[in-house]
Symmetry: C2
Subunit: 261 residues, 2 copies
């Protein structure tokens, strides 16, 4: 209780502080959107900005979960490892994403910056105090958690039951939905991650990702002007494939007898 008052006082005592949050570029696309204009000072009082470079691991599975983050710039990969090095990426966190769900006493996943990433850090006590103070924030977190849970279930369906082509088609379309800015062209997609990351996300290998991209390209379903760019040519077909209906591209294996009984 003392703690909460302290934070309130901190924020209210320095109205200039609130500007940092008020002018934040992800304010309306993150959980912070739950806070009213007048409450931003409390938020700003406990938020600490931070930058991490590509390749840097800033959350490590199993470590005590002392900090929570909001991504303000760049992209992050969240992943789990097996002792022998096998890796499963459980999700990509872009601008506005909150990191800290799926957390008990320790982190259940690791997080690595895919490119130069901006973060807004909250310590556990300060987040707890915020939640006590602003129940609406807690509701917002619950909503977010439900969305992530639904996404996780969709990913389980993909990992457990879809073919390579279906997985990649689903991935391309999900990217198109999740990262196209308002008013942007959803058929031009930017991929901040490598083929290896895509493979570890879709439960496949680099080679299969590359081959499947080539198949889609040869079938005129997509273009890949650069390795980090996709242009969707046939959205309808990708949608059908991704959902498990529709004809996959024949994989044109050599030395295979023609399909005759």
């Amino acid at each position: 209780m003392v703690h909460i008052q302290k934070i309130r006082a901190l924020g209210l005592g320095d109205p200039a502080l609130a500007d940092r949050c008020r002018q934040c570029n992800v304010r309306h696309s993150s959980v912070c959107d739950a806070m009213a204009e007048t409450e931003l000072a409390s938020l700003a009082a406990v938020a600490i900005e931070k930058t991490v470079e590509r390749g840097q691991v800033f959350i490590e599975e199993g470590n005590p979960a002392d900090d929570f983050y909001t991504v303000t710039k760049g992209s992050v990969k969240l992943y789990k490892l097996l002792p022998d090095g096998r890796q499963q990426i459980t999700g990509f966190a872009g601008t506005g994403h909150f990191l800290g769900l799926a957390v008990d006493k320790t982190y259940a996943f690791s997080a690595e910056a895919i490119d130069t990433v901006g973060l807004c850090r909250f310590s556990r006590p300060s987040l707890r105090a915020l939640l006590d103070d602003f129940p609406v924030l807690e509701r917002r977190l619950l909503d977010t958690a439900c969305k992530e849970l639904a996404a996780a279930q969709e990913q389980m369906l993909l990992l457990g039951r879809k073919t390579a082509q279906e997985r990649l088609a689903s991935f391309i379309l999900a990217r198109s939905h999740d990262t196209t800015p308002c008013g942007g062209n959803p058929d031009h997609i930017h991929l901040p991650m490598t083929r290896g990351d895509i493979a570890d996300y879709l439960g496949l290998t680099i080679e299969t990702i590359s081959r499947t991209f080539s198949l889609f390209r040869a079938a005129k379903r997509i273009l890949t002007p650069t390795n980090a760019e996709i242009v969707v040519l046939d959205r309808r077909w990708l949608t059908d494939i991704g959902q498990g209906c529709g004809h996959a591209v024949p994989s044109a294996r050599p030395n295979r007898p023609p399909t005759v009984a």
Copy 2:
């Protein structure tokens, strides 16, 4: 606001109602545990008990999410389908489990009773009112959601990167942890679901499940007195395999040339 008062009044006006919740067998192993003794009347006022028989689908993916449930008896499988019938089970919900996370306007999954199942139903408005009235309940739901999210991520690792033997070993141990009652023998495991359900949960086929059970049996790692029962003989080995270390059972394929260059 009027609504909340109505519910409060309902509960407080009839103290006998509270007994239904007070004597509930899952009271302390479900989200309801967040409610204090004196608050149970409010809970009981909006909870409706229900029984569904084995095989009955009581939540259907895509339908409007009007109701939320707590499982009071039996087991439920939660799953998603592809149009051609491929199925991925995203989880099993046992006694005490809350169903309704991963829900937006519509259900993100379907739910089917594995055996005779007892449910406690809440309508969306009444749950909303409860959450408004008892913020501690919202925090409890958030905790639950985080745990489920962590479990979902673990399952992604399994589906994306583990072998059949690793998957089944993980499954057996998870069952042992999740369903052993306090004081019970964790090495005697009851399986309410069929081999087909296990297959759809682990992203494999019935045949592979059966074969892998046979391998484990032949290697003296487990016993299966009945199809619905497992006895763990070598927990250490199962743990190692499930985590991706440790030697898998050789699968003894016939007609394969010996491993010579």
